[in-house]
């Protein structure tokens, strides 16, 4: 006896098969040179390899389904820190036309720690015997983290022949805390950069600690804290970011180009102006 739903089941199955065929025919060929955000890593991929972060990772806004980031906490400022903070006009409040964010207006480097939070889409980590390189998609920049046992410099930004100059990405050393947690400590940061997009400042002596924790083959998290007694009464969290493994290990190009920013500001950002009520709202 013919089942009463046989026809309907066959019809639905037929539609599904046809839809699959149509989708397959509609898929363009994959290029090894292109990032495909919908080709996501499946599952956790198994246990994380020991003491190994090497590879290319997709962060927030990469379309790879990385878990949501955790924002910075509101820090407790010293009087000097508050004085500097109050000078800064972040874009989220003042818009491109009213901000004095040096990156928004001129493509100036974010520097550490902001470049590990803002626009942190894709990231590659490469390891040499004595150094680990962190290569960021945004701004095509690289950081050097020494793992040869040296300690952080204590003479950055002072006077004298043996002092070191502050740098946008500072001076970094790294160590494995356990088989899955790589800890990076950084100091000697160029003081003209903002620590966060919201305009919190930092001094040359600020100490930033990043904890890269690989929980599986496909999952990596990064938590950042900053200790800067000159401007803050206690250490505070800069945020927590999650990354997912990219199957074909490819990233797209994405950078801030000064000539394009000038065109954008001239034609769009400056004519749009700033929120008339911005100055009355807290940062």
């Amino acid at each position: 006896m013919r089942h009463p739903y046989t026809g309907a089941i066959a019809g639905v199955a037929g539609v599904l098969v046809l839809a699959a065929l149509a989708a397959a025919q509609g898929d363009p060929p994959r290029s090894p040179w292109k990032y495909y955000p919908m080709d996501r890593a499946v599952g956790d991929g198994g246990p994380a390899p020991k003491r190994d972060l090497s590879g290319t990772w997709a962060g927030p806004s990469s379309g790879a389904g990385a878990p949501r980031s955790k924002a910075e906490e509101q820090p407790s400022l010293t009087p000097l820190g508050k004085q500097l903070y109050d000078r800064n006009k972040p874009i989220g409040k003042f818009s491109p036309g009213g901000t004095n964010d040096p990156h928004t207006r001129y493509c100036d480097p974010f520097g550490v720690p902001q470049n590990m939070v803002q626009e942190i889409r894709g990231m590659t980590i490469a390891t040499l015997p004595n150094r680990t390189f962190v290569l960021l998609q945004y701004m095509d920049l690289w950081r050097e983290v020494w793992t040869d046992g040296r300690t952080l410099p204590t003479n950055v930004g002072g006077r004298g022949r043996d002092t070191l100059d502050p740098k946008y990405n500072g001076y970094s050393v790294g160590r494995w805390e356990d088989d899955y947690t790589f800890v990076v400590d950084t100091t000697g940061l160029a003081p003209q950069t903002w620590a966060t997009k919201s305009g919190y400042p930092h001094s040359v002596e600020a100490k930033v600690q990043e904890r890269f924790h690989r929980t599986s083959k496909h999952d990596l998290s990064l938590t950042i804290t900053m200790d800067d007694p000159k401007f803050y009464t206690r250490p505070f969290s800069i945020g927590e970011t999650h990354f997912r493994w990219i199957p074909n290990q490819q990233l797209d190009d994405f950078t801030c180009i000064p000539s394009e920013v000038q065109q954008y500001l001239k034609e769009m950002g400056d004519p749009a102006g700033s929120d008339p009520d911005a100055a009355r709202r807290p940062n």
Partner: protein
């Protein structure tokens, strides 16, 4: 156009998880997000595919016959690419309907919301492309 429809279908599949309007990373504070201005039968004059934000420029003739020259910004190129935009999605000469969150200063600039093409298809902004001004790219974000 078929690709646009498929992409938008995928994007809206993710709208169920949308977490309400959020400010664009580049700051939407300068724009009136309460209701978009509708520019019907606007003529695209330029599509400038630049960072930090691509710009759509279009001429719109108002009820009095005066031509308004509009400029509007979108989400970043890499974000827009994730939901199907390319540097040729709109082109000079296209006659379209544009939805724009206008600047509070009331000059003819704003944050792009969505574009309706003459064939009935629609493309939206990533960060302010939902009808309530929220994200329209949650299908490719977490």
């Amino acid at each position: 156009m078929k690709t646009k429809v498929l992409v938008m279908a995928a994007v809206f599949a993710g709208l169920a998880s949308i977490d309400g309007p959020v400010l664009a990373h580049h700051g939407a504070a300068a724009y009136d997000m309460s209701k978009p201005v509708v520019l019907k039968n606007a003529v695209v004059t330029e599509f400038i595919w630049i960072n930090p934000h691509p710009l759509i420029k279009a001429d719109f003739k108002d009820e009095q016959g005066n031509v308004q020259h509009w400029t509007m910004e979108m989400g970043s190129t890499v974000s827009a690419q994730l939901i199907g935009w390319t540097r040729t999605t709109v082109a000079p000469g296209d006659i379209v309907t544009l939805y724009v969150w206008q600047a509070k200063t009331r000059v003819p600039v704003g944050r792009f919301n969505k574009v309706e093409f003459s064939d009935g298809t629609t493309m939206r902004d990533t960060q302010t492309g939902a009808d309530d001004g929220g994200r329209a790219d949650t299908g490719v974000r977490q």
